[in-house]
């Protein structure tokens, strides 16, 4: 299993290595824990506050693990124009899948759109969203 030290070593030679490191830590462990932040800070000669400040600034990084599968539903203007707000109730009516807002997936001509992992889904309606959530 990959360790924090391995990940840091892989990126340490790069200019501005912190974000690539945080991405890889989150990919490997599902989140960036307090312990991980401490180790990264030490390895990069940063304060823990600096690393915490970066982790907490960006929406992508989570400080706690999320056990459920995650569906990112676009809630920005173009998807609103295509009726995403009517789908939010369906998403909120279940708790098995964690539904998070995302502000634009660049699928603005075929919304409402969602992202599951690296899989993009467009032209969502109530039926398609329901079956998508059930299949996750």
């Amino acid at each position: 299993m990959t360790s924090i030290a391995d990940i840091v070593a892989e990126h340490a030679h790069r200019e501005g290595p912190l974000l690539p490191i945080l991405h890889d830590v989150q990919k490997a462990f599902g989140h960036v824990s307090e312990d991980a932040m401490r180790d990264i800070a030490q390895a990069l000669n940063l304060t823990r506050a600096e690393v915490y400040g970066v982790v907490s600034f960006y929406h992508d990084f989570r400080k706690e693990a999320e056990a459920r599968p995650i569906l990112k539903l676009c809630r920005a203007e173009a998807c609103k124009a295509r009726g995403v707000d009517a789908l939010v109730l369906i998403a909120e009516n279940q708790s098995r899948v964690k539904v998070e807002p995302v502000y634009c997936l660049g699928l603005c001509s075929v919304g409402p759109a969602a992202l599951v992992g690296d899989q993009v889904i467009a032209r969502l309606d109530q039926a398609r969203l329901s079956s998508l959530l059930e299949a996750m």
Binding site: P20, V54, F57, E77, A81, L107, S109
Partner: protein, 481 residues
């Protein structure tokens, strides 16, 4: 017979993989190409130039037997035929990460020309072309390049801003997924012109397919641009990192907080070094300009808005997609003639141009020509040229509230008008929606908008008032008036 199906994210999201698999199962060779940009047609199947729209896997047998109805030759379709495709000349035609396809369609000619005429003449060509920053600010690209070229430093950088966060825009994504070598070539030309050997392309994490294709293309073309080096950096879900100084901080591994200007990034940018920060579309326009000459590019457009703009038709629009056209076309032509009105079939109530920070525009103003100066004079913004269409079911008070809410969620927090003003804005609009002291709260909101507009450090807080105040001005009835 060549069957071409796009592997652009829009096509994938609409089910293109299943269609491609069905053709493959029938024993047909399928080429996965970039998207034509006719998004309402996706998955679009192109068989020797003839198109079949919105294809599902079960329609494959009828297409192969000739029984299915085609849309005719794709290149003759009015949506394509009316465009001036310079940046998107390869769209729909080439395999995105095929170097052979890129060479065969005129790839690397611009870089070759730049190397032949030298750095100074390359910058002069960009200045002559009139190319302006396509990210929104519209600053002349050649002037920025000259500033960086003239700045003495051992290390300079090219930074490509691919943090395309504005809702209603997807042209950057289409360039990266559809024609990544063109963007690499554009960065290499910029690097050659200003004397930079290293480029970073900062791509938002919401674009996994763009990241994968850019990384593949960089590997394949590394020897062609050497000693110039391009590296992908992935954003982390912060809208503000589309602002150039915030992006630079993010690249340095810091919180994406906005920097005060001056110093200009051209003089003190990434790691304090002279840096060209250009949008994807700006850099993507560069190879064509070098290959065909600055005058050829400047022959398109109007006034001080030269060349073409890849307009993105989005939201509740019948014919959504990518429409690259010379500046000067009117908003009404784009929305009604090319876009075909709304997808829902209801009347168009308004459009928002330029993303979440752009003003709402009503059909009464649809004679507005697409031109930086004309839009600015109308208190509107071309921005990244995304047009989001809304039908008459939209509640503009809710949209105004969302503009403030979005600013509150995405504000970097560095300056007070943006950080606090956005939250106070949401609260005030909530009061108005609830019918409490409507006149007084509208006056308060107007005052708050002034403070944000003139007191914010960057366009996030400075431009959020545009959608809010334009919504109130155009549709007072939605605000209990």
């Amino acid at each position: 017979m060549t069957v071409r199906i796009s592997n652009d994210a829009v096509a994938l999201a609409c089910g293109a993989d299943a269609v491609a698999a069905a053709f493959a199962a029938a024993g047909v060779d399928v080429e996965r190409v970039s998207s034509w940009g006719m998004h309402w047609m996706e998955p679009l199947v192109d068989i020797d130039g003839v198109g079949y729209g919105q294809v599902s896997a079960d329609q494959v047998p009828s297409i192969l037997s000739g029984d299915a109805k085609s849309i005719g030759r794709i290149e003759d379709h009015p949506f394509i035929a009316r465009q001036n495709r310079l940046t998107f000349a390869r769209a729909g035609k080439t395999r995105p990460t095929s170097l052979d396809d890129y060479y065969a369609s005129g790839g690397w000619l611009g870089l070759g020309q730049a190397r032949a005429i030298g750095a100074e003449a390359t910058i002069e060509t960009i200045i002559v072309s009139g190319l302006r920053g396509r990210g929104g600010a519209g600053f002349p690209a050649g002037i920025k390049w000259r500033t960086v070229a003239d700045a003495p430093a051992e290390q300079k950088y090219i930074v490509c801003n691919a943090d395309e966060g504005d809702s209603g825009t997807f042209a950057d994504r289409m360039v990266m997924e559809g024609d990544p070598f063109m963007l690499i070539e554009g960065m290499a030309i910029a690097g050659f012109a200003v004397g930079a050997t290293k480029a970073y392309i900062y791509i938002r994490s919401e674009y996994p397919h763009a990241i994968a294709k850019m990384e593949a293309a960089i590997q394949l073309s590394a020897h062609l641009i050497a000693p110039f080096v391009v590296e992908v950096r992935v954003g982390a879900g912060a809208y503000i990192c589309g602002e150039e100084t915030s992006l630079l901080n993010s690249l340095e591994g810091k919180r994406g907080e906005v920097r005060a200007k001056p110093p200009l990034p051209a003089l003190e940018g990434l790691f304090g070094k002279p840096t060209v920060v250009n949008n994807v579309l700006t850099l993507a326009a560069v190879p064509w300009i070098l290959a065909h000459g600055g005058e050829a590019y400047a022959a398109y457009g109007m006034g001080r808005s030269k060349g073409t703009m890849p307009v993105q038709l989005a939201g509740n629009v019948k014919h959504g997609g990518l429409f690259e056209v010379a500046f000067g076309i009117t908003l009404g032509e784009l929305v009604n003639e090319i876009g075909g009105g709304t997808a829902s079939g209801r009347p168009v109530r308004c459009v928002q141009v330029g993303g979440p920070l752009g003003a709402y525009i009503a059909p009464a103003q649809f004679d507005l020509p697409f031109d930086y100066e004309a839009f600015a004079a109308a208190d509107a913004l071309i921005g990244h040229a995304g047009i989001t269409v809304f039908d008459d079911s939209v509640d503009m008070a809710q949209m105004a509230r969302f503009a403030m809410e979005f600013c509150a969620i995405e504000s970097c927090g560095k300056c007070t008008p943006c950080r606090l003003g956005s939250t106070r804005g949401v609260e005030t609009i909530d009061q108005i929606i609830a019918g409490k002291n409507v006149d007084a709260n509208l006056a308060l909101l107007a005052d708050l908008a002034e403070t944000m507009k003139f007191g914010s450090l960057c366009a996030m807080g400075g431009f959020t008032p545009y959608p809010v105040m334009s919504a109130i001005k155009l549709f007072p009835e939605d605000f209990n008036r």
